[in-house]
């Protein structure tokens, strides 16, 4: 299954995506002006797309990683189990990402 390369790709994306996390935290520590820059970026179309992509990469990488942990423990090697785990990671990753963003818009929209 081609999903193992997706696990790697999302891992590499998350690696460079930490720059966004660092920028956010350092801006919060720097002051209101710096923080406003971050919020302007995350509020823009491109910022939203990156943040959405980052959310998906994180959730997918986590679920796909759980799959690897299951295999590390010696379970889930049957063909049907492998298929199930893979689809669960794929569908769960997309589903949870959309759910998180719905919650985020509900919470964020009220402010």
């Amino acid at each position: 299954m081609a999903l193992s390369i997706v696990h790697r790709a999302t891992g590499v994306a998350l690696y460079f995506g930490t720059l966004l996390l660092v920028w956010w935290l350092v801006a919060a520590a720097s002051g209101p002006a710096a923080y406003a820059h971050v919020q302007a970026f995350t509020g823009s179309i491109i910022g939203r797309l990156i943040a959405f992509g980052y959310t998906w990469a994180l959730i997918h990488h986590m679920l796909s990683g759980v799959r690897h942990l299951v295999w590390d423990l010696g379970y889930g090697f049957k063909a049907s189990e492998r298929e199930w785990l893979t689809w669960a990671a794929l569908i769960g990753g997309i589903g949870l990402t959309i759910l998180l963003w719905i919650v985020a818009y509900v919470i964020g929209g009220g402010r």
């Binding site: 935290l25 919060a28 209101p32 919650v103």
Partner: protein
């Protein structure tokens, strides 16, 4: 190798026994274990971290500072940061070792990976500590 010297011989393990399971990196499976350890840590921390980030959506810097600087939130964030930079450093090293075959480029890449991961980690930790101390 010189002939075995009875006075300096402190172990009864054979040379093969000493290197077995250590692999080409000579450090054994510690990275493998730490990659799993940090993964499990982040799974446990994922829900609290999502709640923290969600609570800050649309809020201003003053609110973010207050939240990120409160002890419980700061500790959760610090744990998550340490686990993630450790995890990503090991992960990127595996990717480099798999795809970069030129020894010089590989060495430079691994050094850059270490620098990047440590810089990201330290900058994040500094920011959290600064918010926590209220300076």
């Amino acid at each position: 190798m010189s002939a075995p010297n009875p006075t300096s011989q402190k172990s009864m393990r054979t040379p093969l026994g000493k290197v077995r399971a250590l692999g080409a990196s000579h450090s054994g499976t510690s990275d493998f274990w730490r990659q799993r350890l940090t993964a499990v840590a982040m799974i446990l921390l994922m829900i609290p971290v999502i709640v923290i980030v969600m609570s800050l959506l649309g809020r201003n810097q003053a609110f973010a500072t207050q939240t990120l600087g409160s002890p419980l939130v700061a500790i959760i964030m610090l744990l998550f940061i340490v686990a993630s930079v450790w995890h990503m450093k090991i992960g990127m090293q595996v990717v480099i070792e798999d795809y970069v075959h030129d020894e010089k480029i590989k060495l430079v890449s691994i050094i850059a990976n270490n620098f990047f991961s440590i810089a990201v980690g330290l900058a994040s930790i500094y920011a959290i500590l600064k918010l926590s101390s209220g300076v």
